[in-house]
Amino acid sequence: MNNLYPLFNVIIALAAAPLMFGVINRIKAFFAGRKGPPLLQLYFDIWKLLRKGAVYSRTTGIFFRLAPSAGLIAVLTALLFIPCGAYPAVLFFPGDMVLVVYLLGAQRFCMLLAALDTGSSFEGMGAGRDAHFSVFSEAVLFLCLAAMSAASGSVSLNGMLFTAGGRIWQVSPPVLVVVVFVLYIVLLAENYRVPFDDPNTHLELTMIHEVMALDHGGPDLAMLEYAAALKFWILASLPAGLLFPHGMKPDFFGNAALFLGLIALTAALTGALESCAARLRLVKVPQMLTAAAALSVVALIFLAK
């Protein structure tokens, strides 16, 4: 039974990922004094979209039809390498964190090409900006992984978050806080939340992710939204795994509940940030990400001594 727990964790992740966007929207509504959409709204949306037909633009070719499925599978494969709390990941091998980051990059590759396939200037704009920000956010993510690897003495995500979890906090707590902070910034950048993009609007000012999904419809859009939710879960698992109290050995349900709670906390924080902060000017985004990279290098220097 013990060997099946990681698989159950993956099933829980697959089931609970769309819930996080519901949490974010509810928190934003709370700050705005509204009641807000139901927590399970994304589930209803996906169900509705799956039952719809599709409209394809005549400009698009086979790539447009291929991209959402390929992106979803890439993110799904990346999910298999993420440990969940006190239980290891389903698959792990030395260097799997590189594969995870590049699988998320593969999803971005599909999205960018699908956006350019439509021949629309909206999607082109979003694709150009996404390509621009990804240069920095992936570098910051790798530097964070390097800091975590130096702290935990392991070259596998499983080892970093699960095996050496307690040991990381003993090395140097304030430095780890910095790493968690930088991971949170990467989460915001890669998932196109404030202060990097405003997911509410579809205007030229804020077009990055929402606009790339503009021409998809039906099952394609369902796959895109679900992949976005999974990506949020994957990137939120990293700081949650670092913050997880590894000293205690909870049973399966306690572990799942605690982990879910940590990710929901991240989502709530994201919602609060979106309500209270404004989006950065687009020229300031590289500066912010460079500062984040500098912080992670500082953490690496402190952790490696």
Binding site: S172, P173, P174, V175, V178, P286, Q287, T290, A291, A294, L295, V297, V298, I301, F302, K305
Partner: protein, 220 residues
């Protein structure tokens, strides 16, 4: 706890490098001074309790109280809000700050330190604070920014001193503090005079001391 303060010092460094607003820099220098002021409380030393508390209080008063107040007064008189034309941009400054931290760690790993220090990070962080101060002096044109850089440099030297020279008597510490105080006072008066005479405090344009001026295009 000492590690937390040292990490905070490094973060303040990076913040002062990345921000071009004078008022934000003054606030950061005040916080940095406050953080350095409380460091002696966490060091194992032979100084009796009462004297230790006096040192801490005086340092806090000067570094986090008097000097920042004076700088703010100077800023209001000179009426400068932000650094208009730094020689090095914000991102490049932050990356240089990280490089300075790395260099400080490298240097401190080679320095032969005869006595035990409370934390392996004190000497590198002190060196990096000094290097940051130097960098700000070199890379900023605004006179007030250079004063802020000088303050950060003095913070670093002060931290280095109290980390390693705990056996020294109280007078050395107070002497350093007095030296900083007088220096800032003199600098402030000079800034007033510069502003009154030239109607600006952009030190990159103050090159009248040179006998020979290269043909340089003035970018106004």
């Amino acid at each position: 706890m000492l590690d937390v303060i040292l990490m905070l010092l490094v973060l303040f460094n990076l913040f002062s490098l990345g921000s071009t607003r004078i008022s934000a820099s003054i606030r950061v220098v005040a916080y940095q001074g406050a953080a350095i002021g409380v460091v002696p409380l966490f060091l194992p030393g032979k100084i009796p309790g009462g004297i230790l508390v006096t040192i801490v209080l005086v340092t806090l008063l000067v570094k986090a109280g008097i000097l920042p107040w004076f700088l703010r007064y100077a800023q209001k008189r000179v009426n400068v809000r932000r650094e208009e034309k730094p020689f090095v941009g914000a991102s490049a400054s932050i990356l240089s700050g990280v490089a300075a931290l790395g260099t400080a760690f490298f240097i401190s790993s080679r320095l032969p330190i005869p006595f035990a220090v409370a934390s392996p990070f004190i000497v590198p962080v002190a060196l990096s604070v000094s290097l940051t101060g130097f960098f700000i002096i070199i890379s900023r044109a605004e006179a007030l920014s250079q004063v802020i850089g000088y303050l950060i440099l003095e913070n670093g030297i002060y931290l280095f001193g109290i980390a390693l020279l705990l056996e020294q008597p109280l007078l050395v510490e107070l002497g350093m503090l007095l030296d900083v105080f007088v220096g800032i006072f003199v600098m402030g008066i000079t800034v007033f005079h510069i502003s009154r005479e030239f109607e600006h405090t952009d030190t990159s344009r103050l090159s009248g001391l040179a006998d020979w001026l290269p043909e340089v295009k003035r970018s106004e």
